[in-house]
Subunit: 136 residues, 2 copies
DNA sequence: TCCTACGATGGACTTCGTCCAAGTCAAGAA
DNA sequence: TTCTTGACTTGGACGAAGTCCATCGTAGGA
């Protein structure tokens, strides 16, 4: 995710202060923010930024493959800036904390041919659930 | 899922016509309906049934472990009546079709101890994504 | 049959997200 | 540097999904 701004510029992105701020918010700590949280943090630096712009920018970052949408427990989508490093998620059933994890093994290979129903399987998302030390 | 009504009665569920109809809708074909679709189908048999009741009943069935919530691509939650048979999902990125699948292997075991961060990992959800024959 | 606590109702409300017309501005052209 | 233009932003309306709550109805035990 570092040098995100450079990569975006290289792809012909028109750089605006709004887009810069959204990208910088995501480039910070690697947490999994909701769109609303991104808006909140962006607004600390650029108070006039609108919700629509945050949604637009997040959508573009997802389309470019720079950010992943992860659907966790809550209602709101969360955005994962760690898209360049393949990983899965470990979610606490108590407090909702999300951690990036890297299981071994080959999950796609674990799906037998006769269970694929002719699909061209391209990716797999794995969510581990359990209780974190604090909630146990 | 068969004899769902019997099991619910055994658990002390107060049986009402609304709950019966919701359970019967889910007990039908094993598709993955949204709450709204459940309401629609329930209303065919019991036109006065309210949305709130459908949401309440689905929530109770999920709490009882008789039905699973699956979070797919779209915005609405989907309800999977096949909770008694452990399985994972294969989703078409084109049309959104969802199929139940049974991968081999031990996905929980694939998560190394040092990647668990002290969590007591209890379950794992796997979503395979790809294009179905129709969309390819 | 009667009672009563549990469940159903429907409408207001909240949350999350999208759409759109109008205004603004980044960046290339001159 | 200034001009131009089309891409970007804005904010408010809108829509979908889900929750809440006061009130009414009824399943099932006494």
């Amino acid at each position: 995710m570092s040098d995100l701004l450079g990569r975006l510029r290289g792809r012909g992105w028109r750089m605006t202060s709004q887009r810069r701020v959204v990208a910088e918010v995501l480039d910070g700590d690697h947490v999994h923010l909701t769109a609303d949280e991104v808006h909140l943090r962006a607004a600390e630096r650029l108070p006039e930024i609108s919700r629509a712009t945050v949604y637009n920018t997040l959508g573009e970052l997802v389309a470019l493959g720079e950010v992943l949408e992860v659907s966790t427990v809550g209602r709101a989508k969360r955005y994962d800036p760690n898209a360049r490093n393949p990983h899965q998620h470990l979610v606490c059933s108590g407090c909702g904390t999300v951690r990036d994890v890297h299981p071994v093994g080959n999950a796609i290979g674990d799906l037998p041919e006769e269970e694929r129903f002719g699909f061209a399987v391209g990716s797999v998302e794995i969510t581990y659930r359990g209780l974190c030390p604090g909630c146990a």
